[in-house]
């Protein structure tokens, strides 16, 4: 949790990066201890990202982008302490609501998911990828390029059906395929470092002149006053988090937009009002609970953090999917309990974190960056005691940097890498079952529903626009 607070609060370093860095440390632990660490890191990192967002107008993580608007304005008005106190309590409440929804919804969905066959799983995985490609920043085609690149990387290694080595170029290390974790550390850790070292002037840290003092005095009254807003934002955050490919950042923005739309003080949003802080901070932590729903139930990551979690779970020998609720029910219950308990810890650690962050912001950024570089290298090596994994990390670090420089989003690539084997396996097994016919992929009801959804995702907007312009032309 402390690592989460540390990484999340450093502008530019994301929750995904914090989780990617902690994963190599968890491989030698029991699965629940490892998952507990990951949960703690992710919840803390998302909250910690709001601290520099509120005080410095720099989001610590992408999920804190929406928290800047009113949080920073409150700081300028001398109400920074109130903003952070609201932020912390709303993060905890949002997290609790998100986990409660996860506890009740996930088992019901798991029962439904038992009806899925290869045909449905194939479309579900494609749907998850498509969502990520469409929602990600940048143009849709760049999202598709990133997704396809991830799927191509996933084909490297021994073909599971025929045992034939594909794209290994006679390398024995590549026979087992590309490791998720070194790839993720490279994509999210090293590539982020490259962005900063490119600007040596960014080595100078932003300084805080104001002394941070937290005041919980008026928070209780405000929480009661805005209880419905907290509930609504948390539900919105959770639903958006549960959509494969969407994450806490999108949840926070949508929730902020919705709060602004329905509020009586709509015009005052962005000028430093409490509602503008409550909505995004409740939503971003609630979204974390949501992202675990598709991850646990279908084995489809809700965001990049759960993509890493899925990779880690596979390394622990666990297979996320509907059967995990029957075969590993005890573990699932432990995950839920840990998630709930972590909220209590977040309240305590978060309180200390706000107090101590003045000192952390003064820590030189150049030293932090060097620490991340060496941690990325050693973390990648530690997984299999393989220096080849460090090469993979370096390759993906450079690739991630180039892709981001070209405006190509990274999350679809990771999802492609994770979901690639699932898509290929279900496609080929489905084809064997249907004697080479593609018809069952679009004639079975659930498969057809997924197929229509995917078409709507990519072409819905242009089709609606075309229909609208057709009717407008007819009217005129």
């Amino acid at each position: 949790m402390i690592l989460g607070i540390f990484v999340g609060g450093i502008p530019g370093l994301t929750a995904t990066m914090a989780v990617a860095l902690i994963v190599p440390l968890t491989f030698h632990m029991s699965p629940i201890a490892g998952l507990a660490m990951i949960l703690g890191v992710s919840f803390c990192a998302i909250f910690a990202g709001d601290i520099p967002a509120t005080y410095l107008r720099i989001p610590g993580t992408p999920a804190s982008g929406a928290a800047i608007l009113d949080g920073y304005e409150m700081t300028r008005q001398g109400k920074g302490s109130l903003a952070l106190a609201l932020d912390l309590t709303c993060s905890v409440l949002g997290g609790l609501i998100g986990i409660t929804i996860l506890i009740f919804v996930a088992p019901i969905l798991a029962k439904f998911a038992l009806k899925f066959t290869n045909f449905e799983y194939f479309w579900l995985a494609v749907f998850g990828l498509s969502m990520s490609a469409v929602i990600s920043r940048g143009t849709r085609i760049k999202g598709v390029i990133s997704m396809t690149l991830g799927l191509i990387f996933a084909t490297i290694g021994i073909d599971i059906t025929t045992g034939y080595p594909r794209f290994t170029f006679s390398s024995t290390e590549l026979m087992a395929g590309i490791g998720f974790i070194p790839a993720m550390i490279g994509l999210f850790g090293l590539s982020e470092v490259f962005k900063y070292v490119l600007l040596p002037e960014s080595f100078r840290n932003p300084t805080i002149t104001e002394r941070i003092q937290i005041s919980f005095k008026s928070v209780g009254t405000l929480l009661y006053k805005f209880k419905l807003l907290i509930l609504r934002s948390s539900i919105i955050g959770n639903v958006i988090g549960a959509l494969p490919g969407a994450g806490a950042d999108i949840a926070a923005w949508v929730s902020y937009g919705m709060a602004k739309k329905v509020s009586r003080r709509s015009a005052e949003f962005g000028t430093g009002i409490e509602e503008g802080v409550i909505a995004p901070t409740s939503a971003n932590n609630s979204a974390l609970g949501g992202t675990w729903i598709p991850a646990l139930v279908f084995g489809i990551p809700g965001d990049t953090v759960t993509a890493i979690v899925l990779g880690a779970m596979m390394m622990y020998g666990l297979k996320p999917g509907p059967l995990i609720f029957q075969q590993n029910a005890y573990l699932v219950n432990q995950i839920f309990s840990v998630a709930l308990v972590s909220q209590a810890f977040l309240l305590i650690i978060g309180w200390f974190a706000i107090k101590m962050y003045t000192q952390l912001f003064k820590f030189p950024r150049n030293i932090v960056l060097v620490g991340i570089i060496i941690f990325s290298a050693v973390g990648s090596y530690a997984l299999r005691s393989s220096l080849f994994d460090v090469s993979i990390m370096l390759f993906f670090g450079v690739l991630g940097y180039i892709m981001e420089s070209c405006g190509i989003p990274l999350p679809p690539l990771i999802l492609g890498l994770i979901l690639g084997p699932m898509i290929e396996d279900n496609l080929r097994v489905g084809l064997v079952k249907s004697d080479g016919s593609f018809l069952p992929f679009i004639t079975r009801p659930i498969s057809l529903a997924f197929f229509i959804l995917i078409i709507a995702l990519f072409f819905g907007e242009p089709i609606i626009k075309a229909i609208r312009s057709f009717f407008t032309r007819r009217k005129t």
Partner: protein
């Protein structure tokens, strides 16, 4: 003559990559399960290669349509750009990670990591005394966490006789 822009380059890279995939999969064995090659090892990579060709062509078309006023890649200024401190920092980082990969077995984790940390911090402008101190703290911390706590094999290299 029209110049290349970023969209063109992305498109061309996609097309080249898909050609490499398609030419590599030609050497893959055919399926033995009866109905065509749908269950063979080349079927799925070929499908992805065709998706990539489509994406590449689409990007090239976008590039052509954006031609006016788009950001143009000027290769002649690339060398000057690399010599600036920022891009040079990236190159130094990459080179040092490559050194980590090449020399960790020979020099050992402690010596290799310390040297890399020291050079990186020096490059990033950390004062010399602080640099030496922080590098030592980082190495000892990593050795304690990975080597001692999680008992991961970290090569001793030249310090083998010290029994770390």
């Amino acid at each position: 003559m029209k110049k290349l822009n970023q969209d063109h380059i992305i498109g061309i890279v996609c097309i080249i990559l898909s050609i490499i995939i398609l030419s590599t999969t030609r050497s893959f064995p055919k399926s033995t399960t009866g109905f065509s090659d749908l269950s063979g090892p080349s079927f799925y990579p070929n499908v992805l290669a065709f998706v990539f060709v489509f994406c590449g062509l689409y990007q090239v078309i976008i590039g052509l349509r954006k031609q006016e006023g788009s950001s143009v890649i000027d290769l002649s200024s690339s060398w000057n750009a690399i010599r600036k401190p920022g891009p040079l920092n990236i190159l130094v980082t990459i080179a040092l990670i490559l050194c980590f990969i090449l020399f960790m077995e020979i020099l050992g984790f402690i010596v290799c990591s310390y040297m890399i940390l020291f050079i990186l911090m020096w490059r990033f402008g950390v004062p010399l005394l602080k640099n030496a101190l922080y590098s030592a703290i980082f190495v000892l911390l990593l050795n304690a966490i990975f080597g001692k706590l999680f008992t991961i094999y970290l090569p001793s290299g030249v310090l083998d006789y010290l029994d770390f």
